[in-house]
Symmetry: C2
Subunit: 388 residues, 2 copies
């Protein structure tokens, strides 16, 4: 079975980018990744484009050749658009990996992009809610903030999780994001500020428990490990990966404090990689809400169930802690351009494993993991990477 390496990464600034189109963003991130890989657009054999809401946000579908043609890819290059809600990016990276494993491509470009700040916030919430079960939940008032509020409330009930634990996630991720020049909201937060903030979004979640509405793009270039040129600077290898599914609607889940798709994806990816959670140095998880990070580090096996909050409050997941979670700032501070997020998690882990993460570098990081979920946890994609 062919092994796959990441040979290039690139991204745009994340934020409210009024003067850049979706195409501008995708081309900028792609061009940087292609340059970082030491190749040209002609060297790309297959192209995967992750995007969630182009049709709604910018009236543009069929985005893969839209971006591919603008990049000047060869005519024989398949350009494929992957949409798996907030896990679009992780899914696209996985398709890129298996394209190489299939022998049909040697070098694959994967770009994730989202341009969201084109409509008012309630419209954004509505567009995002289409990733949930419209007929049975959304139509009658379900939104993602309300869904994760229920997850938080139940986690508090079952495990004694408190608002301090949620706040600790926000404070840590904003502290990390402050060290990331590409992050959307580079704003330091104290526990007092977060706990004192009274802007309730969906009780018990308040404003600082929620991720951001962000424009941005991120890209990676994948390569058959046997074809990586020797003169290339540090590369990163894919050790394991898995994509799983679960019941689609929240009401169908028998347990609100555990995402079974994450549990299974972690099991499969760790098995493929032949390592254990304690071998991992750096982790990027899907903290669309603070509670989601707590649930994720439990479901991934980094801490026992119910201990995600205390572990965060105790600093185990800080840069310099036992295992760094979301050194990039996460969706919470770095931002969450939906289609880009899963790709950007790979970008961050690659930078960390190459020792190029600047002020937020996790010292001596050798193995990293990414965790990307979609909808009400109906999709989970996990990748495990190691220094090449």
């Amino acid at each position: 079975m062919k092994r796959v390496s990441v040979i290039g990464v690139g991204k745009t600034k994340y934020g409210v980018l009024k003067d850049k189109t979706l195409l501008d963003l995708a081309v900028e991130a792609a061009s940087k990744a292609i340059e970082d890989a030491g190749i040209t657009p002609e060297g790309v054999d297959a192209f995967y484009l992750a995007n969630y809401g182009g049709s709604d946000f910018v009236n543009q579908s069929h985005l893969a050749p839209y971006v591919g043609a603008a990049l000047g890819l060869r005519r024989g290059v398949p350009c494929i658009h992957i949409e798996n809600a907030c896990a679009s990016g992780g899914s696209a990276v996985r398709e890129g990996i298996i394209a190489i494993m299939s022998g049909t491509a040697t070098r694959v470009l994967v770009v994730g992009v989202e341009k969201m700040n084109t409509v008012p916030t309630p419209k954004v919430t509505e567009f995002l809610a289409k990733a949930g079960d419209w007929e049975n939940e959304v139509r009658v008032g379900y939104t993602f903030p309300s869904a994760f509020a229920m997850v938080a409330r139940r986690h508090m009930h079952e495990y004694g999780t408190r608002r301090e634990h949620l706040a600790a996630v926000a404070v840590k991720n904003h502290s990390n994001g402050l060290k990331n020049p590409y992050a959307h909201m580079r704003k330091s937060l104290t526990m007092e500020e977060v706990l004192g903030d009274e802007r309730v979004v969906a009780d018990p979640l308040r404003l600082y428990d929620c991720s951001l509405i962000t424009d941005g793009a991120s890209a990676v270039v994948l390569c058959d490990k046997n074809s990586v040129r020797e003169n290339l600077k540090k590369t990163v290898d894919v050790l394991g990966f898995a994509q799983t599914n679960d019941t689609f609607a929240l009401y169908q889940k028998d347990n609100l404090t555990r995402f079974d798709a994450t549990v299974e994806a972690a099991r499969l990816a760790f098995k493929m990689a032949g390592i254990k959670p304690q071998d991992v140095d750096v982790v990027e998880v899907h903290d669309c809400f603070t509670i989601a990070e707590i649930v994720a580090i439990e479901d991934l096996g980094f801490v026992p169930k119910g201990e995600g909050g205390p572990a965060t409050l105790d600093g185990l997941t800080s840069i310099g802690g036992k295992f760094a979670v979301n050194p990039s700032g996460g969706l919470k501070s770095k931002g969450h351009p939906v289609g880009a997020t899963g790709v950007d998690q790979i970008v961050e882990v690659v930078l960390q494993l190459r020792g190029e993460a600047g002020e937020r570098q996790v010292r001596g990081a050798e193995i990293g993991l990414t965790h990307n979920i979609g909808g009400s946890g109906a999709t989970c994609v996990v990748h495990i990477l190691s220094r090449g």
Copy 2:
């Protein structure tokens, strides 16, 4: 390199299906294909869902796990939604093939589905137009009927193609569709009726030059050829495939009468299959408009440039002719549920190669080809199949 076989096919009736939801349609087609393959949902290792406009037509995105969970797929099964405009189906089948070639899956389910009759026709046209270049063309009046009208007008100018040639495509495909119990519009048309019809859609295209707004779903089960059980009935093998891209907007093309993405996809797929156009017995092409079939059979190399119209009028592409084109009735009569179309082309060719196409059977068919395009020809997917 692993070889891939199609071991099961299934589809719903195509038409205006007011009483069936998108989920109903997808589950019905998938269940039939799974049964035809002699397996159960538990036997599926990976799932690709092709859909273009679920977000617009039924407010539902994240469709892959939506359908996958309803089918009862195992939790460890990756469910991936592919959107490549009208070529979504062909793209999804290709991803399924390479998933098997990668060694990550042995049996792959691919479902294409579209539920379109939820909004008035002008809205359908608007939603479909998002597959074109919104910023530069659609926003100022571009629609797909107008685009293909320009292609027709230029083809007439360059090659002397006449309305009789376009009409011959409609008459043939409606004659074929009459023999397809699953077709949307099972209505016989004469040359006189088509030529006499004065309902202009976009000059020179009239009503009978246009494909249909259709609800429906189609599905295939792919399998590693080495794992096909010996007791299984006739299987069909994938000989070759290719997916290509081209300039995105129509105005960027230097030639309106040729789709370069088709020319290149045909070249690559024939090369991979090791055969020539004259070896093909049955063809399903993307006749979204009558002129599109004429251009397609030229670009695929079945007839010289400019001779697609006369070849059709002379009966070369009829069932019983030199090579049968669109024996299913094509998008024109069978219908065009956008995300399903590329998958259904595979279904039809498989039925033909298995000798199970009933009244529309192409006698002795051994090799078939499918041709699926997206947007203004910015994506093309070609598959070549042979009797197993």
